[in-house]
């Protein structure tokens, strides 16, 4: 039975969707833009939910918006930017630089995964979907999700082990 998407429930998932966006983009500015665009799309008009819930709907929209933006950006001419300006515009809300750097390492490791593995890991470990829910949202068998999450965690662990502590710094 279809039901209307609940705008307040959508807003209640903001933090998880923001973390998912960070894991996709590995950039706070890009993640904010992506989340903003995702919510703008979903909330632009009343929508009916045939299966799943608001969180799954948001994740699918986030994924689609991300890949559309990536394709668009790949076609766009690149402009030179002042790196100092970019760095200054990326304030770290975390009061502890070391902790912020470690979180950046985690998001960076996830963002470096191949798309299929990254999406599975984000759906299960960042967003908190079950394997069954992630399988439905991503349109692949549940066993595939389980394998991808397992292997993605393995790669994330390798990435984190390979980063020497003195070199860890936020992007």
């Amino acid at each position: 039975m279809a039901r209307r998407l609940d705008p307040q429930a959508l807003a209640g998932h903001l933090d998880r969707i923001y973390r998912a966006a960070l894991a996709l983009c590995n950039s706070r500015e890009d993640a904010e833009d992506l989340v903003q665009e995702t919510y703008a799309k979903v909330l632009a008009k009343p929508r009916r939910l045939k299966s799943g819930d608001e969180l799954g709907y948001l994740l699918v929209t986030l994924r689609n918006t991300y890949f559309t933006s990536r394709r668009t950006a790949a076609r766009r001419p690149r402009a030179d930017v002042d790196l100092d300006t970019v760095a200054a515009a990326d304030p770290r809300p975390d009061a502890q630089p070391a902790a912020a750097a470690e979180l950046d390492e985690v998001f960076g490791a996830i963002a470096a995964l191949p798309d299929d593995f990254r999406l599975a890991l984000i759906a299960v470990d960042i967003v908190g979907l079950s394997y069954a829910e992630a399988a439905e949202v991503l349109g692949v068998p549940q066993g595939t999700i389980a394998t991808r999450v397992f292997r993605a965690r393995g790669q994330v662990a390798r990435e984190l082990r390979e980063v020497p502590a003195p070199q860890r710094s936020p992007r």
């Binding site: 903001l14 890991l121 470990d125 393995g154 790669q155 984190l160």
Partner: protein, 223 residues
């Protein structure tokens, strides 16, 4: 950003899994910036349908006015004397959530929210009830945190922990499930199930979901 080859399953150790899960769990403290939150909340408010005019609920015989949908679990810390009554706590826990839900702890059957060491259960896999929001209230001088769950049909579950002090549970009937005793009550039109967990009192209440469903949730592994 360099994309790496993902290792095969046989090359991944349990320690790899634990390291990754621990690291990913640490990201749960990352929250959306205030400006983004304000923007999303504005969009959500603008998108919300106009509230329906309030109408007095029509009670049809034994239909119990079961139009409102909410299941509430309250966990109340056992201790001293004073504190909210079961009725007060039920009223608070039936209220809608005001903030987002806690995430699942990776690899665990609990959410990343707890009060006094009692974690809220992750029910999505086992029963389809997903955490959809949270609220905090002060009742009888004690803080009560509620995590609200919902199923695919839109029915709701709230799980709360009141710090400090026991709520005496009496009345109703006692039902045994899995070697534990649960008390089934009716409070202000809601079905209520109370039980003890790790020395704490739990209360489950619903207006649209039967006590049997609540008992199933309450007697589940993580509950």
């Amino acid at each position: 950003m360099t994309e790496h080859r993902v290792p095969e399953e046989q090359d991944i150790t349990e320690a790899d899994q634990e390291l990754a899960i621990r690291a990913i769990r640490a990201t749960e403290r990352v929250t959306a910036p205030g400006s983004l939150r304000a923007s999303v909340e504005r969009m959500a408010a603008a998108s919300a349908p106009a509230p329906r005019p309030w109408r007095r609920p029509v009670v049809l015989g034994g239909a119990v006015g079961a139009l409102a949908a909410a299941v509430v679990v309250l966990v109340l810390v056992l201790s001293g004397s004073s504190g909210p009554s079961v009725e007060q706590a039920t009223r608070v826990a039936l209220a809608p959530p005001v903030t987002g839900p806690p995430a699942r702890r990776p690899g665990q059957e609990v959410l990343s929210a707890e009060v006094d060491g009692v974690a809220y259960p992750y029910w999505s896999d086992s029963s389809g009830w997903r955490a959809v929001g949270t609220r905090r209230d002060t009742v009888g001088g004690r803080e009560v945190m509620t995590v609200v769950y919902a199923d695919a049909r839109g029915r709701r579950i709230g799980y709360a922990i009141a710090a400090g002090g026991a709520l005496p549970a009496d009345g109703g009937r006692v039902v045994s499930r899995g070697g534990r005793d649960f008390r089934v009550l009716r409070v202000r039109g809601a079905d209520v199930v109370t039980w003890e967990r790790h020395g704490q009192t739990c209360i489950l209440a619903s207006r649209d979901t039967g006590a049997d469903v609540m008992l199933g949730l309450a007697s589940g592994g993580a509950a």
